[in-house]
Symmetry: C2
Amino acid sequence: MDNYSIVGKPIPHLDAVEKVKGNAVFTSDIKLNGMLFGKILRSSVPHAKIRNIDISQAVKLKAVRAVITSKDTPLVRYSISPTWADKLVLADQKVRYIGDEIAAVAAVDEESAEEALSLIRVDLEELPGVYDPFEAMQSEAPLLHDGIVSNISKTLRMECGSVAEGFARSDIIMEDTFKTHAQSHCSIETHCCVATCSATDEVNLWVTTQAPHPLRQRLAMTLKIDVAKIHIMTPFIGGGFGSKIDLEPAQAISVLLAKKTGKPVKIEHSRKEQFIATRMRHPTVTHLKFGVKHDGTIIAKQANVVMDNGAYNSHGPAVLAYNNVMFSTLYRVNNIKYEGRLVYTNKNWGGACRGYGDPQASFAQEVMLDMIAERINMDPIDLRLKNANIPNQVTANAVKITSCGLKECLTEARKVSGWRTKKAAGKKYRGLGIASMIYTGGGSIGSGLNYSGATMQMNPDGTLQLLMGALDIGQGSNTILTQMAAEIMAVEPETIRLTTADTDTTFPCMGTFGSRVTYCGGKAVVEAANGLKKKVLENAAEMLEANPDDLEMKNKSIFVMGTPEKAVTYAEIGASSFYKKKEPLVAHGYYNGPEVSPDFDPVTYKGYPAPALVFGTHLAEVEVDPTTGKVEVLNFVAAHDLGRAINPLLVEGQIEGGAVQGIGWSLMEDVKFENGEILNPNFHDYKMLTIKDIPKIIPLMIETIDPNGPFGAKGIGECAMVPTAPAIINAIYDAVGVRIKELPATSEKIFKGLKEKRSK
Amino acid sequence: MDNYSIVGKPIPHLDAVEKVKGNAVFTSDIKLNGMLFGKILRSSVPHAKIRNIDISQAVKLKAVRAVITSKDTPLVRYSISPTWADKLVLADQKVRYIGDEIAAVAAVDEESAEEALSLIRVDLEELPGVYDPFEAMQSEAPLLHDGIVSNISKTLRMECGSVAEGFARSDIIMEDTFKTHAQSHCSIETHCCVATCSATDEVNLWVTTQAPHPLRQRLAMTLKIDVAKIHIMTPFIGGGFGSKIDLEPAQAISVLLAKKTGKPVKIEHSRKEQFIATRMRHPTVTHLKFGVKHDGTIIAKQANVVMDNGAYNSHGPAVLAYNNVMFSTLYRVNNIKYEGRLVYTNKNWGGACRGYGDPQASFAQEVMLDMIAERINMDPIDLRLKNANIPNQVTANAVKITSCGLKECLTEARKVSGWRTKKAAGKKYRGLGIASMIYTGGGSIGSGLNYSGATMQMNPDGTLQLLMGALDIGQGSNTILTQMAAEIMAVEPETIRLTTADTDTTFPCMGTFGSRVTYCGGKAVVEAANGLKKKVLENAAEMLEANPDDLEMKNKSIFVMGTPEKAVTYAEIGASSFYKKKEPLVAHGYYNGPEVSPDFDPVTYKGYPAPALVFGTHLAEVEVDPTTGKVEVLNFVAAHDLGRAINPLLVEGQIEGGAVQGIGWSLMEDVKFENGEILNPNFHDYKMLTIKDIPKIIPLMIETIDPNGPFGAKGIGECAMVPTAPAIINAIYDAVGVRIKELPATSEKIFKGLKEKRSK
């Protein structure tokens, strides 16, 4: 029964007023007594041996309290998985990209810390660098890491069915190569942390992170500190988009400096540091080969992917696996082959970035489908409908799909956009493009770990508290999860007191990534709230001498159905349980799933255990200026199967934000490198959409009510980024016949394409 | 079985290093962005009508952000109980003592706030004041409060048995009057708070409090804010001694100022404010009448007490009831009569202060016993032994005693002090005095509310977290309660991660007062730890395929008894439960007791439901300088029945601290008034003991192992204050034959006594 009173309602962010009024406290706002400021000396060359670091002049500076180098660290390498560990908190022996951490300083003010950095003398022996992954794979290429025989960090091969046989049975074979580029997350808040570390190694860390509990583990491992001594707290977070999942060297450095000085130490990244020395979206080169029947049935598909890792692994190997699993799982295809290589280069390293390898896969596959549709003279939407995933499907690569609304996304987007009419009208320089996507709707990185916990409590005064490990990084999960709890407890969401993501007081949670919070956090909250509701109803039944099944909850009271005057208030129940029965009213919820099948391959992610999968279709309408090649996105329909929209207003926000970030990546956002150096590490030279560039975005919410999701919901956060680029690229082709196969689709490239076309 | 490895060990304070190094964060250390400073305008006259308050000049000051008066408050009166409510956060119509809050200012710095105060024009119509409770009881006395017919705030009458009959059966009747004076708590940290209040009324309050959860309730009530919107956090606390239990007007004012300005507001009391405008120990005049047999048996006792309340109630009515219950319960006496009156005067108001009415009772009763012993020519210790309470006694006033070591305290103190030898030697100007006490060993204010909660959790990595509502105000409860948890979980206490007293994340707790934390907090922690231990053992049994009863815990592992190689570590159990079984390892403990019998009289506290009662005996040896009357305390034996010493080092600290505070009250500490004005509101004129004045204190711990206490423990915090004064006063009499009946026993009084004696 779907007659919910709070779930499904478009409630504004619970913290909106606090943020709008400027009262919300972010990490940057934190000032502690005697707090020092930390700054990091970074490599200015892309590849070099460190011969010597002379800190003698820097430590003499009066305002300086500590200078540290790798000698002050336990020299433990890390990444998101111990098997891929390759990064030191401070470089030892070698630097591998412009931005690599060499030394750090704590001083009483930022200016003195900067001055001290300038006094550190680093004696470097420059080494040849390699910046292109194909060059890096050559045998003569300089190797980035000790003990490796090739710069290929990971090779991934998977075949399901037989592509050879599939291609043989196909009517048409199409092949092409698609390139994507680096994108910076551009969170409005840069990385910031404030650390204290007591004489007995007790660490307090206020930090901009998406994953407090894993960060605690990684900090402990990297610094060789007992994990129980680390307390991580998360003030308000100004966006993440994947950039704040990892341990950031600055976080470990702030703890080391705090330990050495005995004072709190704050390190806040400048925007430039955010560009040059935090992660970015991995560039890829994808060669695709598709075999199809004349009727559009895809018989076989094959991808060869080279992914530019940059200098260190971070999430790279998992991003590559996700690239495979998302490419391979979308559409019903029996014969699939995927070969991927992740290659070190002397550049800023890639990491998790909204979509996690999927936008790259989606761009290649969805543009390819457009090319196929043209070749076989089929409507691109019909082609996708023909091959679309269906509910309860098990794919060739052994992924189990529960709910699936891909077909509904396609047909709804077609209907709402006026696709047929507009296509038929064929207005000059105008075009429509479509692209679809699949993604996890609830995290799961294949390790079997995908946990979220929640505790729900009724206080003696009848008020409610919700403690959860999940955290809101701006996407609105605090509001969404509170709505779920409020629905179950029949109260207004704003009356529930919330505590999130504090490693001392909340249950462990993997964090905010993988579009997992609504699903995993939601399941934990629903379990906790239902547990509490049961206890509260049992108490009420006792007090009212009634059967719990005959009770109804309303207005913070519980009454016997049909006899509203026979009621007890929550305050009475709380007081009675705490003070008379002496039993605290508390319940827990904990989710960690789904089970990982023994057939799951942790290298290729074949048999990937998604708790739920989400689907979506983006449909873009663009106009191209033939004299300049400039693209204007006129209309944008984004249909998403999200199970259930717990809060349509916040879902709209996610869809709009994802679409905008996707349009940026498609048309202008581009981290430009020259010999390993980033040329545009600022918001002047790195172009993002402004409010004037943003088209009308029509979000369509396809509610498939997932059988396992909390209230049937699935995740949405990353999805709206994924199919944006191919939708736009396909629309550009529809408009002017220029096919962009290398992102971004700048005016220059389109203008060049138009010129070439005219000259033919 | 008492073979404990952590309970009973003298472990130093877990936070000692942090405090000694100056890294511990107290409320005063907290600085928030844009924080304003609040200052309070207080009445400079003892009694007046407020005709008008003109803030027009103050608000014009550039640095001032808000000025508030009673008009900005909801005019809700408060005290610790709604039935006694008489205090407004800001005075309206009338001021009743020098210090009464009239208006408050928030400014960008303290100096500007002070300047603004000086610009507020208060038009007062002075009224006659009354400063002596006996004068205040006269019919012509000015009345302090509206609608009252007398300044007597509370009258308390109790009779058990029949004193008339008892006195008739007695061989000897003795009567006398004893006076006590005001004492300031003199916590090293003054009251301080930092408040934020969002546009939607969400309050964050960092505050020096002994009772965060009750404070939350009182703030909500007084400011008419939803209790669920208030978040109270307690940084390190620098002592309380009862002064930080109440809602302090400054706390509510800081919230009001934060709400009005939209900025964080800090208010920190000066030491002068701490003296003149926070609570103090109630002065009393106690007239006693005792009827005894020649053999020392006390047949009947009667007390008439007049307690000086000051201008407002605070804890006054409960302190008076405690004065009765402690007077009446100590010793086995069948016929008891108590008559007490609590009287308003135009002075700073009394409140909870270590001992809570008991030191006043103990002083009168124990000096009286010394006089009786002399009269009947009996050893004072033998007299007390004759009448001492015994285990499992139900007293004439219906109080149930469980464990009782009063006789052991008396005999041990006699033995260790060399009482008999020294008494026999009779060295000139030297004397020995003895006094005993009874007190609650676990809180309970008679309302039936005496709650403490705890949560204990094993993390996926096998580390342990303890969350509890109780808080450490310097006495060491964090260490004590962690020891209990560590004993049960077989780990080192410092490895347990602790979170205390945060209203958002910990179970409700009444707070730190009434010597209740070891007992009530301990019971909650023991229940939580045992609950967790059970779950952990069940998990281990499953993993080891063994019976839980055959398992042993050691070194963060669990192994099969006799087969130490068959073991699982806590980390393995944590990981297995969270990641495989998907069940969080968490358990709760909650105590709220004991039951209040229907026969309990909430006015007189007859039938007072103490969870446990503690007993003690102080034995002082003094030398009096006959030329000056100066008293030197040479030796001090303090024997206390505390059930079990969970941490003897910290118990010693409590006993020494209590004895010193008691000696101070006996000999020098004295809040001196003249027409309602405190003459010595500073540490120069208000004399306290310095390190040179402190005698050798020998603590004797009598472990009676209470049947209900956690590990058999009972509270100790306040006890060591209680019988100090009479022990010293009795020793002075023994030394020089001068009987002090009005505290403090200044050199002047003793010198006068010596002179009078010589002149006789």
